[in-house]
Each structure stands twice: as C-alpha cells, then as structure tokens.
Point group: C2
C-alpha cells in the first residue's frame, strides 16, 4: 500500500454547539447538509456566519457539521491578523486561552471569550495506515509536498489516529498558498 | 562566518515607474522616503495606492522606492485570490503574461495589463556570502526555517547574487504565516 495521503486545504470555518446554533439561526435550528467532507460523518453546511474581530469583520464563513460540544473558529493567520484577533496555533479542541470573537447569524449573535484558533497542521490516519507508515497518534512528523514551484517539507505536523478517520493531511490556506497546493496533491512522511 | 541569513517577510507592495507615479500622485510627484529596507538603496514610501481586481479592491498598499523601469504589484496568493486576480509565482521583473489590475492614487488611476505577481521566494546574497555558502546566482535551493510550531524546509528558493545586495531571504505573508516566521528568524541552506 502507498505511504502517501491526500493533502486537503481547510478554508476558514466554524464549528458550533447546538445552543449557539439556535441563538445564531433561531430556536430549533438544525444544520443543513451541503457536502460531505473527507472525514467520515463531517460535512459542510449551507449555514454561514460573520466573524467579528476588533479590527474588522469577515462575512460568509462556513459552518462545518455536525454540532460539537464547544464552538470553535478556525482561521488562517492571515485572516486572524486582518480582523485583529490573536489566535494561537492549536490542535482542534485545545481551546483554553485561545482567541475571542463575536459571531453573527441571521437570528442573533454570540460572544465567545475563547475558541478562535489557527489549526495546527495534522494528518488523519486509521490505525492500519498509521502502522504501515510507522507512526502513532500524537507523533510529530515532517511531510514532503512535491508541488510545482513551491516545494516544501513541512515540520511540526501532528499525527492523529482513529478508526473513524480517513487518511488525509489538513493544512490551512496560508500553508496551502505557501506550497502552491493543488487538487489531488499527496504528502509523504519523511525523516530529516 | 555564519552560513545563515535573516528571513524577512515582504508584505504586499507596489513598484512604480516615474510616469505612473505622476499619473497616480500628480505631475512632478516624487516618492517620499519613509524607511530604509534591508536591500541597499531600497526604501518604503509614504505614498499608498489602492489595487483593484475584478472581485474587490485592496486599499492602502505601500509603494517601495526608488521608481523602476516597470510597474509591478507583488501580492500574496491569498491577496490575489481575494481580489480576483490570477497572479503567477514569478521572480521580480519577470512580468510577461502576469496579472492585470487597476491602481488608484489620489491624483489619478492606471490600468496595467500585466505586472501583478506572487513573488517567488528568494535569497539575496553578495558574491562573498554566496561563495561561502557554495551557491551561485540562479541556483534553486532548500532553506530550513527553525521556528516554534511551524518548522519547515522551503524548496524552490531562488538564489540571487549581486554586490549591491545585503544577505537576506524574502518570503511573502502566506509563507511567513505558514512557517510562523518571527523578527530575527534566520534561514540556512540545506541539502535534502
């Protein structure tokens, strides 16, 4: 089996709790499935919100479903800087002391005191693919991206292993632009 | 001597011809020196312009001096995409078939049919420092950036050698964010 995996670019997006969803979109609101994502059970939604920082607001940001136990806003560092939010580089769910913002929906708005992060680059692997690649959950690895004009080997990539995952590396739009990522790009774990 | 060099982030900026400067800022206009840049003779100016693409405009973009033989707009890929311009990754001055835009100044505006690029990452070296590092003009090298949380080895880095240069690597804001560059960051040419 190949030791390569697809590399996907995560655009800015929001995960919401059911409670926040209902404040933003009205009592009894449910997320509307628009498109499946590579990770089983995860999907892009029709619902969109505006993220407001101290300097500027960013309209039309997608929500990804399903609802989660905590509301989380994932921006690129470019995004965060442009709207004036100090967002740390974090793994999903590691929100203590992360950035604050206001989120506006068509039915209401919320203020979150933390939850805004720049996602740490990571690879989703199944136990089987992780074993084949000789890595385990929480390993930090280097990944070679062989693009045309902006090749790179990215370090500080977190390996996340679960039987619920599909093999895929996720980078944000800054990283995607910095390596000139394209549809179908594959990454490979390398030793430096 | 060290084989390392400083790594600087180039924010979006514009270089203008004297003719375009006078259209944008008025007959007889001259660039106003604001701050020296690392490359000898190059400086940031007080003058600012708005870059207009098919989708959106980007106000408040710096001009870098002195004036040049061709007008050139350097954006990050994030910038270019956000205002709707298809800008190729190019070395400075390699403008044939590059992106088009409108540029608006306080006294007038111009349309350029080419000149918008995403700068190819590069290292300025003097003949002496290039010799010490074992590289020559136009070499394509890998550069290791040892940052905290987003380490990377960037490939497709062009070496440019001139006695007029000061040793420094230039990356754009996407690349800077992708590696979490900081003030004082040093790069080192490595073999992969």
């Amino acid at each position: 089996m190949s030791k390569k995996f697809i590399v996907e670019t995560s655009a800015r997006h929001v995960h919401v709790t059911q409670e926040h969803l209902e404040i933003l979109f009205g009592k009894g609101a449910a997320l509307t499935h628009k498109k499946d994502l590579s990770q089983p059970g995860q999907f892009a939604c029709e619902e969109r919100v505006t993220i407001v920082g101290p300097k500027k607001e960013m309209p039309n940001v997608s929500i990804l479903g399903p609802v989660r136990p905590e509301t989380q806003v994932e921006l690129s560092a470019t995004d965060a800087r442009s709207i004036g939010i100090a967002a740390p580089i974090r793994e999903s769910g590691d929100l203590n002391g992360s950035g604050a913002c206001k989120i506006i929906g068509p039915a209401g708005e919320i203020e979150i005191s933390q939850g805004v992060i720049v996602a740490k680059r990571h690879i989703h692997l199944t136990p089987e693919t992780a074993a084949e690649m000789g890595v385990k959950d929480k390993d930090i690895v280097w990944v070679k991206l062989d693009t045309n004009g902006r090749k790179a080997v990215l370090g500080d990539v977190v390996v996340r292993v679960s039987p619920k995952y599909a093999p895929a590396m996720h980078i944000d739009t800054d990283e995607s632009n910095a390596v000139s990522a394209f549809n179908g790009l594959e990454g490979e774990i390398v030793k430096l």
